[in-house]
Subunit: 387 residues, 2 copies
């Protein structure tokens, strides 16, 4: 790739991400939606200024790694415990229902089992960021509902990563059986447990030593990033997705006293790399699927509409497993609806390994965008009614 | 490039850079030397863990862009004026002498005119960072000598960038004549003048507007980086090196009230990307040139020794153009000896476009390392004598 193109693409991606991110936020939406739309507009579908290249593919992957590393850093391990039983129940049901709904919808549309396996996975993980911001904006973060939702969303992420491991393995030619699914799940859980367990045991000691003996500027931050990249590479080596390792390493480092220094350094990297991830996802959306004159498109849009419905209903129903009084069950369920980064990662993996055609990928991205789009509006209505 | 290799290489590069950078600093040397050595050790020459790939070539280039952007951000435009006439004189003579010495040394060794043109350029630009740190460490930053040296080093950088423009154009097949050299120099100066002039005119206004109207986290930082990448791409388009544009943009933004916010964001990017640049330079050094049993190597090492001598003498002599009393002329000259990032960029460009063979490149990197290595030692002796 020519260096001019490289620098120019990078500049365009960042500017477009910020402009459309800002517009989305002005409309009370998540910046992620803006960044995806930015990608659609500057990508081959509309303006054709930027297209995905090998280097940007790798930079986007790096962006996803940083995204999940930051998610890990921001997760308090103790929150898992604090989240409590209801959150865990909501998380599991909220993963299971959309998965099954998505899977069977795909089969009903005559798609292959492989793509159905992936499609179910796309619908599983809640994007906690969007929901948290709505609760925060309306000063409802300390309600019982908010606590259950945020706890569930964290557990959700981890379940999502395990599913990712299973799905990747299944699709890469391994036979699918209850045994193999159990094996891969066990491997993923074991990998996470070993990384987190070993990490918690030794990381504070090592980082304290480094902070004491190494005087270079930012050494803690750089070594934290290096460790994140290393464990991400390692998790790829054991056939898990790199983001699984990145999240685990973030989780480990969140428990050290250096977490603030690390987060401060990670933030600009996040601002620099994560938009590349979302914008590139947008560039791969083919908006010609909205051309209703093509019969196949009508079919795909019908699929998208049904997927959106089941994605919504699946999570909304999950709220009703909370058998506690004075908890607005529907509110809990609706708050879990937005899908985000993890779903997008599934979708783009499916595209890159050829499980999804570009039209199906585009439909899935649209479904994810819709879940993110409607939730803040509904939540605001429900929360203002409650007052 | 496989994603495992990408993440793993990145992790190894960062860890090696920090460890060897730390060791170098413990020996009173610049971290840059440590990072180059780290590259030599993990590269094909010794351990062979990491080798240069297309993606890392582009990330290293991005590192160089960030390096010069940061240099521009840290340069106060007013310092140019304050630097005064003596600094300007030292800068010009300190560029001219090493250039001519390097050029004729290469010709004397039977090298081609093209490689002699590049070799001269490698020896021109002083690395202000190393010298500044020594003055700072010995609490001599407010001396007359320090002011002349730091002023000259800044002017030096700009002259170096103009030479880079000329050299790149000459080597890319354009005929060499006084006229063409004048044309290219004029183009480079004009580009810098237009970017800086136009930038100074409008940038504060634009960034103030952005800060007022866009509420996203880190928007100023991201747009500053995007602008830097855009102007870097633009300078490539007009056949200048991207770092020329990056430096110019840094210079422009250094003059806004947002400079601190931008620098704070750039710092982690710098910590993340610049080591890739230096370590990769190290990986391309072929240490087999130190094998004295090979007759050709003896020749190359002789060339390196003479280059080092003229690189040293050329800058040392430049100090004597200061005709002011009470100024230690030799101290000024010696303080200008260290070459760094700009010289390395010349060397690696020469390697990548085939002007230098790998042995010659390796010799030049060793010369640059030597200038960086001896100066702090000599300066400390000279400064402690002066007391």
């Amino acid at each position: 790739m020519e260096i001019f193109e490289f620098l120019f693409f990078f500049a365009v991606i960042l500017v477009a991400a910020k402009i459309f991110g800002e517009l989305a936020m002005k409309c009370g939406q998540s910046a992620i939606i803006g960044e995806l739309i930015a990608g659609v507009i500057i990508g081959p579908s509309v303006l054709g200024i930027v297209h995905k290249t090998a280097t940007f593919g790798e930079i986007a992957e790096l962006g996803a790694v940083i995204l999940l590393f930051e998610a890990g850093l921001s997760t308090n391990i103790k929150e898992f415990a604090r989240a409590g039983g209801w959150a865990t129940a909501v998380a599991f049901v909220g993963v299971l229902l959309p998965y099954l709904f998505g899977y069977f919808t795909f089969l009903a549309f005559g798609m292959s089992t492989t793509s159905a396996i992936f499609a179910g996975a796309v619908l599983t993980a809640t994007s906690v960021g969007i929901t948290a911001r709505v609760f925060l904006d309306l000063k409802k973060l300390d309600t019982e509902e908010a606590k259950i939702v945020l706890g569930a969303a964290v557990i959700d992420d981890v379940i999502g990563l395990v599913i990712l491991a299973v799905v990747t393995n299944l699709v890469s030619g391994n036979e699918m059986s209850i045994l193999s699914i159990a094996q891969i799940s066990a491997k993923a859980v074991l990998f996470l447990a070993v990384v987190v367990g070993l990490g918690l045991l030794v990381i504070s000691f090592i980082f304290d030593k480094i902070a004491k003996h190494m005087k270079q500027d930012g050494v803690i931050f750089v070594l934290a990033i290096a460790l994140c990249l290393f464990v991400a590479a390692l998790s790829k080596k054991v056939e898990l997705a790199p983001i699984v390792g990145a999240f685990a390493m973030g989780l480990v480092l969140s428990n050290t006293k250096h977490v603030e220094a690390i987060k401060q350094g990670v933030k600009p990297l996040y601002l620099f790399l994560v938009p590349v991830f979302f914008v590139l996802m947008g560039t791969e959306v083919d908006i010609s699927i909205f051309n209703l004159f093509v019969a196949e498109n009508r079919n795909i849009l019908m699929l998208a509409a049904i997927l959106f419905a089941v994605a919504f209903i699946g999570k909304a129903l999950a709220g009703f497993v909370v058998l506690k009084k004075n908890v607005n069950k529907l509110l809990v369920g609706v708050a879990m609806v937005p899908r985000g980064e993890v779903g997008l990662i599934f979708a783009s993996m499916g595209l890159s390994i050829g499980v999804f055609q570009q039209q199906i990928y585009s439909a899935l991205v649209v479904v994810i965008m819709l879940t993110t789009f409607v939730t803040p509006i509904l939540l605001k209505i429900m929360l203002s009614k409650k007052q």
